[in-house]
């Protein structure tokens, strides 16, 4: 989908419809979660410590380990 099509589509979708606005927020949140999983797994594969991963994400190493510690083999 080209940028022009994104704009055309945005015109045909009513962004003041709560159904659309809330779905946009939820979709963005899910997308961020997916990207976080991928990049945390990638960093761990490359030998980053939980401390370093947490610092890059702006959260404590405990928080990032609690969230991602059991998904180390995601990219494997």
């Amino acid at each position: 989908m080209a940028a022009q099509q994104t704009r055309d589509l945005a015109g045909a979708v009513d962004s003041t419809d709560p159904q659309v606005g809330l779905a946009a927020v939820a979709s963005l949140r899910t997308l961020v979660e997916r990207l976080e999983e991928l990049h945390v797994a990638n960093a761990r594969e490359r030998g980053w410590s939980w401390q370093e991963v947490g610092a890059a994400l702006g959260v404590s190493k405990q928080a990032v380990h609690r969230k991602h510690g059991r998904r180390r083999r995601l990219l494997g």
Binding site: L9, V13, S27, T30, R34, L75
Partner: protein, 182 residues
């Protein structure tokens, strides 16, 4: 609202839901209702065939325009923020391999409903379907009235796709009314 719908018109709404789920879209938009009408193959599909509109062509355009979503990620919703999910997917897959964006590290929450809500424009189109049928003096709401409702709504993706194909509300109304009179 659905009490006056014929079996075909109900079927079109059911298929609209299935189209939205299959494309991983987060709501039923006017484009899914249009796909539902075409998939049902009743008088609405025949009316549209008269304008050269077919299901395969419309589905291709919906996929080209909106793209496919992921569980929990709606491409049309992201487009309202200027985010092109297709472009994001392409970059993520280039870095992490095919299907990287859909790969789940954990199980989905249990009991996630597969029912998808209607967006406001699709609801509006359904309301206008009732009015179109009523103004034609029809009690039953058939799939061709759904087509008129989608056209009269005017701002949704379905209206855009139909207008691009040269289908106007006036011409469609004339055909429906002409057949009713015959």
């Amino acid at each position: 609202m659905f009490e006056r719908f014929t079996d075909d018109a109900r079927q079109a709404v059911v298929l609209a839901q299935e189209e939205a789920v299959a494309l991983r879209h987060g709501w039923i938009g006017t484009e899914h209702v249009l796909l539902g009408v075409l998939a049902t193959g009743g008088d609405g599909a025949r009316l549209l065939a008269g304008f050269g509109v077919d299901a395969a062509g419309v589905r291709d355009d919906v996929v080209r325009m909106i793209g496919r979503g992921e569980d929990g990620i709606d491409p049309a919703a992201l487009a309202t923020l200027g985010i092109d999910l297709e472009a994001v997917r392409e970059r993520v897959e280039r870095a992490f391999g095919p299907g990287a964006l859909s790969r789940r590290g954990h199980c989905r929450r249990g009991g996630v409903s597969m029912r998808v809500p209607f967006c406001r424009r699709a609801k509006k189109a359904l309301e206008l379907t009732v009015r179109e049928a009523t103004s034609l003096g029809e009690r039953d709401l058939r799939t061709e009235h759904l087509v008129l409702g989608l056209l009269r709504e005017g701002d949704g993706v379905a209206a855009k796709l139909l207008t691009e194909r040269g289908v106007t509300l006036a011409a469609a109304r004339e055909k429906v009314a002409g057949r009713d009179a015959a």
